[in-house]
């Protein structure tokens, strides 16, 4: 008996922690650099970063949601609706603040509903957020009447295309939110409880933590971030469009999965998600340079997720 306890107590040897996603990212970059001389130019690399920010803003809260063993399928549709609300508000009031408040408000409202369905009504996250996806998409068609919202003022476009101190605005916004999420996950109670929500909810209950509120807050954070992303999206496409961000949740979930965040037991990290987002960004950019149609790019993203998870699986499968 004691022999067993002792042998079970031996710590596992530390595996060299190179995540599958980093290998995939470097490999992809090397391939594209070899095929297209343009790929490694400063302009193109900056482009990749700028174009990755919207996805990053969605993928980071998605990481936290997935760490609670949840999922938010409504993110793309909520982003679309928030973008339309923002465009309509800014066009009619010429106020960026009001527009952003409207977009974030829409996101928070949907996040609250998602969180409430999941934590209080105990509806599985997949089903609950599939339902709100439909609602958000429908509302987007209603408020826009199926039409694009045009006439976006210059100051809104500047948010995406402008620079501050020589650095493109989106990169600054992305960096700021990355720092925020890092602090949130590693230096606050909220971050600790997120891991516990996915890892062992009973432990929280026994510790006297009211975790239902935390769970609602995680989904509300996701909604709010969709509202922030709406600002960049609207500025980028210079319009509000009722199908602007359809399927964006797929890219976000793919980036999270690529990054090595597990769908079980509260195992996840924000840096991995950043790598996952960049990998998706590099793939899209490289395929664009090679003039591959966007439909094929979606398929390629899916294939990439499988490759990265396969690599992670190989490493965690011990002899």
């Amino acid at each position: 008996m004691s022999d067993h306890a002792l042998s079970a107590a031996q710590p596992r040897p530390r595996l060299p922690a190179i995540p599958g996603v980093a290998i995939v990212l470097v490999a992809l970059a090397l391939v594209f650099a070899a095929i297209s001389p343009n790929f490694l130019s400063t302009g193109n690399l900056s482009n990749i970063l700028v174009q990755s920010v919207i996805l990053l803003l969605l993928a980071m809260p998605m990481t936290l949601i997935i760490m609670t063993e949840g999922l938010d399928l409504s993110m793309g549709a909520v982003l679309t609706l928030a973008s339309l609300v923002l465009a309509l508000t800014v066009v009619s009031t010429q106020s960026l603040v009001l527009g952003l408040a409207g977009a974030v408000g829409v996101g928070l409202a949907f996040g609250f509903v998602n969180g409430w369905l999941v934590s209080s009504l105990r509806i599985p996250p997949f089903v609950a957020t599939l339902g709100t996806l439909g609602v958000a998409q429908g509302l987007a068609l209603i408020v826009s009447d199926g039409q694009s919202v045009v006439g976006i003022p210059r100051f809104l476009r500047q948010v995406y295309s402008g620079e501050t101190a020589g650095i493109p605005n989106p990169i600054l916004i992305g960096a700021a939110f990355y720092a925020l999420f890092h602090v949130l996950l590693y230096h606050t109670k909220f971050g600790v409880y997120i891991r516990a929500l996915g890892g062992n909810r009973d432990a929280l209950t026994l510790a006297g933590v009211k975790w239902q509120r935390m769970l609602v807050a995680v989904y509300m954070l996701g909604g709010a971030m969709a509202g922030v992303a709406a600002l960049l999206l609207t500025a980028r496409i210079n319009a509000g469009h009722p199908t602007a961000a359809i399927g964006m949740e797929f890219d976000a979930i793919a980036a999270v999965a690529l990054g090595g965040t597990s769908f079980e037991r509260g195992n996840g990290w924000i840096f991995g998600t950043l790598l996952g987002v960049l990998t998706v960004g590099v793939l899209r950019n490289g395929l664009n340079l090679m003039a591959v149609p966007s439909s094929a790019q979606v398929a390629a993203t899916g294939a990439l997720v499988i490759v990265a998870l396969f690599l992670d699986g190989l490493r965690s499968r011990k002899p």
Partner: protein, 515 residues
Amino acid sequence: MRAAVKSPPAPEVVEEKPDLGTPLLELKGISKQFPGVKALDDVSFAIWPGEVHMLLGENGAGKSSLMKCLCGAYQADTGAYFHMGEKVEIRTPTDAKKLGIAVIFQEFSLVPYLDVAQNIFLGREFKSKIPGLLDRRRLYAEAQKVLDRIGLEVDPRTKVHTLGVAQQQMVEIAKALSQDASILVMDEPTAALSDRETERLFAVMRQLQAKGTAIVYISHRMAEVFALGDRITVLRDGKNVGHAVPGETSPDQLVRMMVGRTVDMSYPRNFRAPGDVVLELKDISATTGIADINLVVRAGEIVGLCGLVGSGRTEVARAVFGADAITSGEVRVFGRIKQGGPDVAATEGIALIPESRKTEGLALIRTVSDNLAVAGLPKLFPNHLFSPGRARRSAEALIKRLRIATPSPNQSVGLLSGGNQQKVVIGKWLAAGARLFIFDEPTRGIDVGAKSEIFALIDQLVAEGAAVLMISSEQAEIVHVCDRAYVMRGRRIVGELSRSELSEENIVRMGMHDE
């Protein structure tokens, strides 16, 4: 509290004790009902400062339920709690915490991807001076102090999922100790620990005792009961059956109190001379931790496999069935070395009737007929085409033969009684042509009347030449039904009892005694 002992205790039980003053915590008349089971029935229990109170009982006697009521994880249906003589409520874990109650749980309450320190202080995080942030330096410093105290040499920044079972158990202990509780509840804390770690834990317990901490200690190890206990309470079938003091009782007396009942169950059994060896395990070890398992089951025999929950009984069954990988040794079935997984086992005539019949044994929303056909599909339909008529005729024959009480073969299995559901599981394997049956807790959740019917059926199986290996926590059943029995402890077989040696006392003694 002495007066609250309602069940007639064994004569040796110490009834009166010197007055110790007001108990630190007293539970009076606690009852807790679950659907179909009365987990606790009018249990009273008191603890005084600085004592170690041992809680004894067989599996399912209500020890863990009582602990869960004590820490607010369950809410008692009836009964009252008194803290230093004052009536209090314990409805939630927070209520219990406020009274200074901390619990070391047997099933881990740890979060796998948080580190050791974060787990120890979960729900009691240290706030930094910067609002909203955590004081990580203080967290790791405090955690290190607790770890030093219990002598656990692990970096507090280690993620808990990378630790072994024993180390995780030590982290659980650290977590409870860090709460500076006045009442510490330990549910089999040493079950996963090595001797050295156990010693360390006992040393810490003595320190706590000296400081006036009351400790409630659940154990299955007699040696611990006598080495540590100041007072002993024995539970049986959810009832408080007596108190004792270690100096005035003996292991034999305690075992008798735990087993208690004058055995009035009689199951029909026709013993006969056994036939050929059907199942033979030679020096089996498996990834699940079982080691050096040797056992033999012959045709016409019912062989019991007993021991405490967690002693490795189910793991043996799974190894035979091929559900877990074997690391050494060999399994011989009908004289041939068995290889491969459960799919092969089924075709070789081995049937596993699992403990959780509703999740592993049956498809509840499907019909009786479907469930009866599912294991025997290759045998019933050799040309791979399903024929509803044939399935129904086979089902009707089995329903008649096993006397399954169902209005029709098309009834959903979920609507049948527990006993009849069990018959369907047995019937499904009969249809598959099984000749070696492994039963894991065959009478769990089955009412008394149906039990004897199930045993009659098992007797009929062996009469027809089948071999049966039966895992059961109900020692009375093993004693009455089995030809022989093996007793397990700590994932090994520690003894074999012949028909004449089979008694509940012998099983309990072998299953729980230290060396």
